[in-house]
């Protein structure tokens, strides 16, 4: 049982490392790209680690980890969205293929 947990933990750490590499890769040169990494890889790395930890801990103790995981899932994407919004408002837009927010084009539903 605990071996599963350990593997999950290492997996989580690996995901975290990938997120880290993404942050430092020089050719990942837009802030949006880095935000995608932080917004997706990071929470997942923690979720995986947390899942791994649950295998080790007593059920009741694991509750804390679960709560933290839920809290993160709820909060992190919200935060990242706000950062996206801020980035766009800061006119960080030159490299976009298409920018319908700035141009005002709207697709019909």
């Amino acid at each position: 049982m605990s071996i599963v947990g350990e593997i999950l933990m290492v997996l989580g750490a690996a995901i975290a490392v990938i997120a880290g590499i993404g942050l430092v890769r020089p050719d990942f040169d837009t802030v949006y790209l880095r935000m995608h990494l932080a917004g997706k890889a990071s929470p997942v790395s923690f979720l995986v680690v947390a899942l791994g930890a649950v295998f080790f801990l007593d059920f009741a103790v694991a509750a804390s980890v679960v709560i933290a995981a839920v809290a993160m899932v709820v909060t992190l994407p919200t935060g990242v969205h706000l950062l996206f919004r801020a980035a766009h408002r800061a006119k960080e837009v030159e490299h976009f293929e298409v920018d319908e927010l700035s141009s005002g084009t709207v697709d019909a539903p």
Partner: protein, 88 residues
């Protein structure tokens, strides 16, 4: 195994610190801080599991709240104020 995991998280955290230092934009730094914080959370979790000691676990929830707060404030701040890109 857990040591390897912690080392991995440490590397991720250091990458975060690197981006934190280099910027160039405030958003980059905030994102980097989030990554670093999450690495810390992971490390705490692994350590707690390893020693089966729940003492530090309460910090996880607190860290989640903390990270969120920092992000929200930074984002909100940027909206009320300056452009993001800073000459590096």
């Amino acid at each position: 195994m857990t040591t390897i995991a912690i080392v991995g998280l440490l590397i991720a955290g250091l990458c975060g610190v690197y981006r934190l230092l280099r910027g160039p934009s405030l958003i980059d730094r905030v994102v980097a801080l989030d990554v670093a914080l999450i690495s810390l959370m992971g490390a705490i979790t692994i350590d707690a599991a390893d020693r089966n000691d729940p003492t530090n676990l309460v910090m996880l929830v607190v860290l989640a709240i903390v990270g969120f707060t920092a992000t929200v404030v930074a984002a909100r701040f940027m909206e009320t104020d300056a452009p993001v890109e800073e000459a590096a």
